[in-house]
Symmetry: C2
Subunit: 207 residues, 2 copies
Amino acid sequence: MARPSQTELAVLGALSTGPMTGYEIRGSITGVLGHFWHESFGQIYPALGRLEAQGAVRRRSPGRTSGSVFELTRSGRRRLTALLAEPGPTPPARNALLLRLFFGTHLPDGGARDLLADAEARASAALEEYAAVRSEIEGVTEGVPDATAITAAAPPTEEPARPAPPADPEQAYRTMTLSFGEHMARAQQAWARECLTMLEGVSGARG
Amino acid sequence: MARPSQTELAVLGALSTGPMTGYEIRGSITGVLGHFWHESFGQIYPALGRLEAQGAVRRRSPGRTSGSVFELTRSGRRRLTALLAEPGPTPPARNALLLRLFFGTHLPDGGARDLLADAEARASAALEEYAAVRSEIEGVTEGVPDATAITAAAPPTEEPARPAPPADPEQAYRTMTLSFGEHMARAQQAWARECLTMLEGVSGARG
DNA sequence: AGCAGCATGTAAGTGGTTACATGATTGT
DNA sequence: ACAATCATGTAACCACTTACATGCTGCT
């Protein structure tokens, strides 16, 4: 009936890359999947508790001095695969930008332009981050097993992404995720720019 | 503090195109903005009540036999403009598809391919609907003031959208909304296809 | 008479965020 | 000592969906 929580899936997924504390799970998710997924502590800890009760994760006696490190059990790994295969909920669309733009005639002067300029800026910023991540993960084909994070900056790329040479499976899936972000950001950028030039023509909406 | 409800804005926006009942407001939103916005009755009616209490909308004595028709007051129109100008919440990203694809190595055989094929299909379907809407609103430059709805079907367009000749303001904003959908759907389509061909290369993920 | 669509609302439940409270550890 | 970060949890609140209850209208 109700939209099932995806938090357990995300937690299980994070744990599939290695044992972690709840705190680290969150950092791992926001660091690597930050643009596409989000979890808050208020969701993670209860989920961890449920998962532990189900036997999907195990709390390791702290080799650490503080906090408890969780690891996937065999049943947890099976559960991850099962959850992954489920289609997942498609929450109703709610695009605040589009809602505003659609009723653009009632926007104050220059309002539409501001909206679009902001959308363009956000897309460009995202593109820069993606470019940095891409150069990072493309530099390392094998070796360091820890997750890559967003750090540096690079000029926005305009070229369409070529099919990318298939690396090892894990790398391939990470690249696909990144590629999605790039495609979407580029599309948003192009769209916003088109609209902006279109707005200049319509003098009824100048500001 | 809390993410403010956007429902009142959506209701006000719908009412800006003419007086309606709550039932019609919903139909209007799902019909025209269906791909980008959604409202349920459980949200609309309470919102209408609040809006009425604030004096933003007025309940007209039923010229109709059943239901009450709501219309925007002057203050409501001002409120719409104010709400429209506010940036609007940016809910944390939660892309179920990306979450699954990222942990694609743990997916059962062929799971990733299915995910991508589905994404491609959905994008293509959306593109067809958009094409139908576009041909409809481009045929009518002025005249019939009622909202256009999705009805027919057309082959998916691959060509990049040209800047589109500026029509009257209202038309322009509607076109921008539609164009957003087209850009995004095309991007998703291209991305999914790229990933699909990439998957064929990696024999570790065939199914 | 009966059914499909129009119309209005309420109640329950859920997933999720935010804020708060608390404490340990580490570096300066 | 002090601050920043690590770490864990809970409580309050929120928007929203779903399901339900109810009745009217128009058509066949």
